[in-house]
Protein backbone atom coordinates (compact mmCIF):
# COMPACT_ATOMS: atom_id res chain seq x y z
CA UNK A 1 0.00 0.00 0.00
CA UNK A 2 2.87 2.37 0.87
CA UNK A 3 4.44 1.70 -2.51
CA UNK A 4 1.23 2.47 -4.38
CA UNK A 5 0.85 5.72 -2.42
CA UNK A 6 4.51 6.62 -3.09
CA UNK A 7 3.92 6.00 -6.78
CA UNK A 8 0.76 8.12 -6.91
CA UNK A 9 2.35 10.99 -4.93
CA UNK A 10 5.52 11.22 -7.03
CA UNK A 11 3.68 10.66 -10.31
CA UNK A 12 1.41 13.63 -9.53
CA UNK A 13 4.45 15.72 -8.55
CA UNK A 14 6.12 14.86 -11.87
CA UNK A 15 2.94 15.73 -13.74
CA UNK A 16 2.39 19.15 -12.13
CA UNK A 17 6.00 19.97 -11.28
CA UNK A 18 6.33 23.20 -13.26
CA UNK A 19 9.07 25.70 -12.47
CA UNK A 20 12.11 23.55 -11.69
CA UNK A 21 13.59 21.86 -8.63
CA UNK A 22 12.71 24.34 -5.88
CA UNK A 23 9.04 24.50 -6.87
CA UNK A 24 9.05 20.70 -6.88
CA UNK A 25 10.49 20.70 -3.35
CA UNK A 26 7.35 22.41 -2.05
CA UNK A 27 5.23 19.65 -3.63
CA UNK A 28 7.45 16.86 -2.29
CA UNK A 29 7.36 18.44 1.17
CA UNK A 30 3.58 18.72 1.08
CA UNK A 31 3.09 15.06 0.07
CA UNK A 32 5.82 13.51 2.18
CA UNK A 33 5.81 15.62 5.38
CA UNK A 34 2.35 17.23 5.60
CA UNK A 35 -0.09 14.87 3.87
CA UNK A 36 1.32 11.39 4.50
CA UNK A 37 3.72 12.12 7.42
CA UNK A 38 6.23 9.62 6.04
CA UNK A 39 9.15 11.83 7.09
CA UNK A 40 9.47 14.49 9.83
CA UNK A 41 10.38 18.07 9.00
CA UNK A 42 14.00 17.98 10.28
CA UNK A 43 14.79 14.86 8.27
CA UNK A 44 13.25 16.55 5.24
CA UNK A 45 15.48 19.62 5.74
CA UNK A 46 18.52 17.31 5.96
CA UNK A 47 17.38 15.57 2.74
CA UNK A 48 17.20 18.94 0.97
CA UNK A 49 20.74 19.79 2.17
CA UNK A 50 22.14 16.45 1.01
CA UNK A 51 20.27 16.71 -2.31
CA UNK A 52 21.90 20.07 -2.98
CA UNK A 53 25.39 18.82 -2.19
CA UNK A 54 25.32 15.64 -4.28
CA UNK A 55 25.52 15.42 -8.10
CA UNK A 56 22.38 15.45 -10.21
CA UNK A 57 19.00 17.22 -10.21
CA UNK A 58 17.54 18.12 -6.78
CA UNK A 59 14.18 16.61 -7.77
CA UNK A 60 15.67 13.18 -8.48
CA UNK A 61 17.95 13.27 -5.43
CA UNK A 62 15.18 14.16 -3.01
CA UNK A 63 12.70 11.69 -4.57
CA UNK A 64 15.22 8.86 -4.19
CA UNK A 65 15.99 9.85 -0.61
CA UNK A 66 12.33 10.35 0.37
CA UNK A 67 11.30 6.99 -1.12
CA UNK A 68 14.06 5.29 0.85
CA UNK A 69 13.29 7.03 4.15
CA UNK A 70 9.53 6.58 3.81
CA UNK A 71 9.88 2.79 3.51
CA UNK A 72 12.48 2.65 6.29
CA UNK A 73 10.28 4.70 8.65
CA UNK A 74 7.35 2.41 7.86
CA UNK A 75 9.39 -0.43 9.35
CA UNK A 76 10.72 -2.09 6.21
CA UNK A 77 14.32 -3.33 5.85
CA UNK A 78 17.02 -1.86 3.61
CA UNK A 79 16.09 -4.01 0.59
CA UNK A 80 12.48 -2.84 0.68
CA UNK A 81 13.67 0.74 1.26
CA UNK A 82 15.64 0.54 -2.00
CA UNK A 83 12.39 -0.55 -3.67
CA UNK A 84 10.76 2.56 -2.18
CA UNK A 85 13.40 4.80 -3.75
CA UNK A 86 13.04 3.05 -7.12
CA UNK A 87 9.27 3.54 -6.96
CA UNK A 88 9.52 7.26 -6.11
CA UNK A 89 12.22 8.04 -8.69
CA UNK A 90 10.57 6.19 -11.60
CA UNK A 91 7.17 7.66 -10.72
CA UNK A 92 8.69 11.15 -10.86
CA UNK A 93 10.30 10.54 -14.27
CA UNK A 94 7.38 8.75 -15.93
CA UNK A 95 5.13 11.80 -16.59
CA UNK A 96 8.09 13.55 -18.24
CA UNK A 97 8.12 10.84 -20.91
CA UNK A 98 4.48 11.23 -21.75
CA UNK A 99 4.57 15.05 -21.72
CA UNK A 100 7.88 15.47 -23.57
CA UNK A 101 6.81 13.10 -26.35
CA UNK A 102 3.62 15.11 -26.80
CA UNK A 103 5.51 18.44 -26.61
CA UNK A 104 8.05 17.12 -29.12
CA UNK A 105 5.33 16.64 -31.72
CA UNK A 106 3.24 19.71 -30.96
CA UNK A 107 5.77 22.34 -29.98
CA UNK A 108 5.40 24.69 -32.95
CA UNK A 109 1.65 24.72 -32.44
CA UNK A 110 1.85 24.92 -28.62
CA UNK A 111 4.36 27.75 -28.46
CA UNK A 112 1.95 30.26 -29.99
CA UNK A 113 -1.19 28.76 -28.51
CA UNK A 114 -3.00 31.61 -26.73
CA UNK A 115 -4.38 29.44 -23.91
CA UNK A 116 -0.92 28.09 -23.22
CA UNK A 117 0.64 31.58 -23.10
CA UNK A 118 -2.13 32.84 -20.84
CA UNK A 119 -1.79 29.86 -18.46
CA UNK A 120 1.95 30.37 -18.17
CA UNK A 121 1.50 34.06 -17.37
CA UNK A 122 -0.65 33.09 -14.39
CA UNK A 123 1.57 30.16 -13.45
CA UNK A 124 4.84 32.12 -13.06
CA UNK A 125 3.88 34.21 -9.99
CA UNK A 126 2.15 31.14 -8.47
CA UNK A 127 5.42 29.17 -8.72
CA UNK A 128 7.18 31.97 -6.80
CA UNK A 129 4.54 31.55 -4.07
CA UNK A 130 5.14 27.80 -4.06
CA UNK A 131 8.84 28.23 -3.34
CA UNK A 132 8.09 30.86 -0.67
CA UNK A 133 5.75 28.40 1.05
CA UNK A 134 8.46 25.72 1.08
CA UNK A 135 10.78 28.16 2.86
CA UNK A 136 8.06 29.29 5.32
CA UNK A 137 7.20 25.69 6.23
CA UNK A 138 10.86 25.03 7.07
CA UNK A 139 11.15 28.14 9.30
CA UNK A 140 10.16 26.30 12.46
CA UNK A 141 11.48 25.47 15.91
CA UNK A 142 12.89 22.13 14.70
CA UNK A 143 15.27 23.90 12.33
CA UNK A 144 15.85 27.18 14.18
CA UNK A 145 15.14 26.27 17.83
CA UNK A 146 13.04 28.70 19.93
CA UNK A 147 13.81 32.12 21.54
CA UNK A 148 13.93 30.26 24.92
CA UNK A 149 17.19 28.70 23.77
CA UNK A 150 18.66 32.15 23.10
CA UNK A 151 22.10 30.94 22.05
CA UNK A 152 21.05 28.37 19.43
CA UNK A 153 18.19 30.55 18.19
CA UNK A 154 20.45 33.58 17.75
CA UNK A 155 23.13 31.59 15.95
CA UNK A 156 20.49 30.03 13.66
CA UNK A 157 19.09 33.44 12.71
CA UNK A 158 22.61 34.80 12.10
CA UNK A 159 23.50 31.81 9.89
CA UNK A 160 20.22 32.24 7.99
CA UNK A 161 20.87 35.95 7.40
CA UNK A 162 24.47 35.49 6.27
CA UNK A 163 23.55 32.61 3.96
CA UNK A 164 20.70 34.60 2.42
CA UNK A 165 22.91 37.60 1.65
CA UNK A 166 25.72 35.36 0.32
CA UNK A 167 23.30 33.36 -1.82
CA UNK A 168 21.80 36.52 -3.35
CA UNK A 169 25.35 37.58 -4.15
CA UNK A 170 25.73 34.29 -6.05
CA UNK A 171 28.05 32.46 -3.65
CA UNK A 172 27.86 28.75 -4.56
CA UNK A 173 25.28 26.81 -2.47
CA UNK A 174 27.67 23.92 -1.75
CA UNK A 175 30.30 26.29 -0.39
CA UNK A 176 27.64 27.83 1.87
CA UNK A 177 26.54 24.42 3.18
CA UNK A 178 30.16 23.41 3.91
CA UNK A 179 30.80 26.69 5.77
CA UNK A 180 27.54 26.24 7.73
CA UNK A 181 28.56 22.68 8.69
CA UNK A 182 31.94 23.88 9.99
CA UNK A 183 30.27 26.79 11.80
CA UNK A 184 27.83 24.35 13.40
CA UNK A 185 30.60 22.08 14.66
CA UNK A 186 32.63 24.99 16.06
CA UNK A 187 29.76 27.02 17.58
CA UNK A 188 27.37 24.41 19.02
Amino acid sequence: MLYLQLFISFFTIGLFGFGGGYAMLSMIQNEVVVKHAWIDVTTFTDIVAISQMTPGPIGINSATYCGYSAALNAGYGHGMAVLGSITATLALILPSFIIMLIFCKLYTRLSDNRYMTSSFTVLRPVVVGLIASAALLLMNSENFSTPDDTYRFGVSIALFGCALIASLRKVHPILLIVIAAIAGIVIF
Binding site: I13, G14, F16, G17, G19, G20, G21, S26, T45, A49, I50, Q52, P55, G56, P57, I58, G59, I60, T64, Y65, L72, A81, V82, S85, L92, P95, S96, F97, I99, M100, L101, C104, S111, Y115, S119, V122, P125, V126, V127, V128, G129, L130, I131, A132, S133, A135, L138, N143, F144, S156, L159, C162, L164, S167, I177, A180, I182, A183, G184, I185
Partner: protein, 177 residues
Protein backbone atom coordinates in the same frame (compact mmCIF):
# COMPACT_ATOMS: atom_id res chain seq x y z
CA UNK B 1 24.81 4.35 -30.42
CA UNK B 2 22.41 3.52 -27.56
CA UNK B 3 25.39 2.60 -25.38
CA UNK B 4 27.15 5.87 -26.27
CA UNK B 5 23.98 7.77 -25.44
CA UNK B 6 23.80 6.00 -22.08
CA UNK B 7 27.45 6.64 -21.13
CA UNK B 8 27.26 10.29 -22.24
CA UNK B 9 24.31 10.99 -19.98
CA UNK B 10 25.73 8.87 -17.18
CA UNK B 11 28.82 11.07 -17.20
CA UNK B 12 26.70 14.24 -17.17
CA UNK B 13 24.62 12.92 -14.27
CA UNK B 14 27.66 11.91 -12.26
CA UNK B 15 29.65 15.13 -12.56
CA UNK B 16 27.17 17.98 -12.22
CA UNK B 17 26.69 19.29 -8.74
CA UNK B 18 24.19 22.06 -8.13
CA UNK B 19 20.96 20.85 -9.63
CA UNK B 20 19.32 20.64 -13.02
CA UNK B 21 20.27 24.06 -14.37
CA UNK B 22 23.95 23.24 -13.87
CA UNK B 23 23.50 20.17 -16.06
CA UNK B 24 22.29 22.01 -19.15
CA UNK B 25 25.66 23.52 -20.25
CA UNK B 26 27.24 20.07 -19.81
CA UNK B 27 24.56 18.39 -21.90
CA UNK B 28 25.06 21.08 -24.54
CA UNK B 29 28.84 20.57 -24.55
CA UNK B 30 28.50 16.79 -24.90
CA UNK B 31 25.59 16.60 -27.35
CA UNK B 32 26.22 19.66 -29.54
CA UNK B 33 29.94 20.46 -29.38
CA UNK B 34 31.66 17.12 -28.81
CA UNK B 35 29.36 14.56 -30.42
CA UNK B 36 27.65 16.80 -32.97
CA UNK B 37 24.39 14.88 -32.48
CA UNK B 38 22.17 17.95 -32.50
CA UNK B 39 22.57 21.46 -33.90
CA UNK B 40 22.92 24.38 -31.54
CA UNK B 41 19.72 26.21 -32.55
CA UNK B 42 17.67 23.03 -32.22
CA UNK B 43 19.21 22.37 -28.80
CA UNK B 44 18.20 25.84 -27.59
CA UNK B 45 14.61 25.16 -28.70
CA UNK B 46 14.74 21.89 -26.74
CA UNK B 47 15.82 23.71 -23.57
CA UNK B 48 12.92 26.14 -23.97
CA UNK B 49 10.48 23.23 -24.18
CA UNK B 50 12.13 21.28 -21.34
CA UNK B 51 11.83 24.34 -19.09
CA UNK B 52 8.20 25.05 -19.84
CA UNK B 53 7.14 21.42 -19.43
CA UNK B 54 6.55 20.01 -15.93
CA UNK B 55 9.12 17.67 -14.40
CA UNK B 56 12.87 17.66 -13.82
CA UNK B 57 14.45 19.89 -16.48
CA UNK B 58 17.60 17.78 -16.94
CA UNK B 59 15.50 14.63 -17.35
CA UNK B 60 13.19 16.38 -19.83
CA UNK B 61 16.22 17.44 -21.88
CA UNK B 62 17.67 13.89 -21.78
CA UNK B 63 14.36 12.43 -22.96
CA UNK B 64 14.23 14.96 -25.78
CA UNK B 65 17.79 14.34 -26.98
CA UNK B 66 17.40 10.55 -26.70
CA UNK B 67 14.09 10.59 -28.54
CA UNK B 68 15.46 12.77 -31.30
CA UNK B 69 18.37 10.40 -31.91
CA UNK B 70 16.94 6.93 -31.35
CA UNK B 71 13.20 7.17 -30.66
CA UNK B 72 11.65 5.77 -27.47
CA UNK B 73 14.56 3.40 -26.62
CA UNK B 74 16.90 6.38 -26.94
CA UNK B 75 14.70 8.46 -24.62
CA UNK B 76 14.64 5.68 -21.99
CA UNK B 77 18.40 5.08 -22.17
CA UNK B 78 19.31 8.79 -21.97
CA UNK B 79 17.00 9.58 -19.05
CA UNK B 80 18.01 6.51 -17.05
CA UNK B 81 21.66 7.36 -17.72
CA UNK B 82 21.30 10.86 -16.29
CA UNK B 83 19.24 9.72 -13.27
CA UNK B 84 21.33 6.67 -12.32
CA UNK B 85 24.35 8.42 -10.71
CA UNK B 86 22.04 10.54 -8.48
CA UNK B 87 20.12 7.45 -7.53
CA UNK B 88 23.17 5.36 -6.57
CA UNK B 89 24.95 8.18 -4.69
CA UNK B 90 21.82 9.06 -2.68
CA UNK B 91 21.20 5.38 -1.81
CA UNK B 92 24.75 5.04 -0.48
CA UNK B 93 24.41 8.22 1.60
CA UNK B 94 20.89 7.34 2.82
CA UNK B 95 21.96 3.90 4.04
CA UNK B 96 24.99 5.34 5.90
CA UNK B 97 23.38 8.50 7.24
CA UNK B 98 21.09 6.69 9.70
CA UNK B 99 24.22 5.39 11.48
CA UNK B 100 26.03 8.74 11.57
CA UNK B 101 23.03 10.93 12.35
CA UNK B 102 23.43 10.59 16.13
CA UNK B 103 27.18 11.21 16.05
CA UNK B 104 27.81 14.44 17.97
CA UNK B 105 29.89 16.10 15.22
CA UNK B 106 27.38 15.26 12.47
CA UNK B 107 24.47 16.42 14.65
CA UNK B 108 26.18 19.77 15.32
CA UNK B 109 27.08 20.21 11.65
CA UNK B 110 23.43 19.74 10.68
CA UNK B 111 22.30 22.24 13.34
CA UNK B 112 24.32 24.77 11.35
CA UNK B 113 23.26 23.45 7.95
CA UNK B 114 19.47 23.56 8.52
CA UNK B 115 19.00 27.37 8.79
CA UNK B 116 21.37 27.76 5.82
CA UNK B 117 19.26 25.41 3.68
CA UNK B 118 16.17 27.50 4.46
CA UNK B 119 18.07 30.61 3.26
CA UNK B 120 19.01 28.74 0.07
CA UNK B 121 15.29 28.27 -0.62
CA UNK B 122 14.43 31.92 0.16
CA UNK B 123 17.04 33.22 -2.33
CA UNK B 124 15.34 31.75 -5.45
CA UNK B 125 12.03 33.33 -4.35
CA UNK B 126 13.67 36.73 -4.86
CA UNK B 127 15.47 35.75 -8.08
CA UNK B 128 12.44 34.07 -9.67
CA UNK B 129 10.19 36.89 -8.54
CA UNK B 130 12.26 39.24 -10.68
CA UNK B 131 12.33 36.99 -13.76
CA UNK B 132 8.59 36.26 -13.42
CA UNK B 133 8.03 40.01 -13.82
CA UNK B 134 6.10 40.43 -10.58
CA UNK B 135 4.96 44.03 -9.98
CA UNK B 136 2.69 45.82 -7.47
CA UNK B 137 -0.40 44.63 -9.36
CA UNK B 138 0.57 40.95 -9.31
CA UNK B 139 2.38 40.82 -5.97
CA UNK B 140 -0.73 39.45 -4.26
CA UNK B 141 -0.56 36.21 -6.30
CA UNK B 142 2.62 34.74 -4.79
CA UNK B 143 1.68 36.07 -1.33
CA UNK B 144 -1.80 34.50 -1.36
CA UNK B 145 -0.40 31.24 -2.82
CA UNK B 146 2.29 31.00 -0.14
CA UNK B 147 -0.20 31.75 2.66
CA UNK B 148 -2.73 29.19 1.37
CA UNK B 149 -0.08 26.47 1.35
CA UNK B 150 1.68 27.53 4.55
CA UNK B 151 -1.28 28.42 6.80
CA UNK B 152 -4.28 26.63 5.27
CA UNK B 153 -2.55 23.42 4.16
CA UNK B 154 -3.65 23.79 0.52
CA UNK B 155 -1.76 21.44 -1.79
CA UNK B 156 0.85 23.12 -4.07
CA UNK B 157 -0.26 20.72 -6.83
CA UNK B 158 -3.78 22.13 -6.57
CA UNK B 159 -2.37 25.69 -6.81
CA UNK B 160 -0.60 24.83 -10.07
CA UNK B 161 -3.70 23.15 -11.52
CA UNK B 162 -5.87 26.17 -10.60
CA UNK B 163 -3.30 28.59 -12.12
CA UNK B 164 -3.37 26.70 -15.45
CA UNK B 165 -7.18 26.66 -15.43
CA UNK B 166 -7.46 30.38 -14.58
CA UNK B 167 -5.14 31.15 -17.51
CA UNK B 168 -7.45 29.29 -19.88
CA UNK B 169 -10.57 30.98 -18.45
CA UNK B 170 -9.04 34.48 -18.77
CA UNK B 171 -8.26 33.79 -22.42
CA UNK B 172 -11.78 32.42 -23.04
CA UNK B 173 -13.35 35.58 -21.58
CA UNK B 174 -11.05 37.77 -23.70
CA UNK B 175 -12.09 35.83 -26.79
CA UNK B 176 -15.81 36.39 -26.09
CA UNK B 177 -15.25 40.15 -25.76
Amino acid sequence: MLWQLFTSFLKIGAFTIGGGYAMIPLIQDEVVTRRGWIEESEFLDMIAIAQSAPGVIAINTSIFVGYKLRGLPGAIVASLGSALPSFVIILVIASCFTQFKDNSIVARAFMGIRPTVVALIVAPVWRMGKTAGINWKTLWIPIVTALLIWRCGVSPILCVAVALLVGVIIEKIKKQD
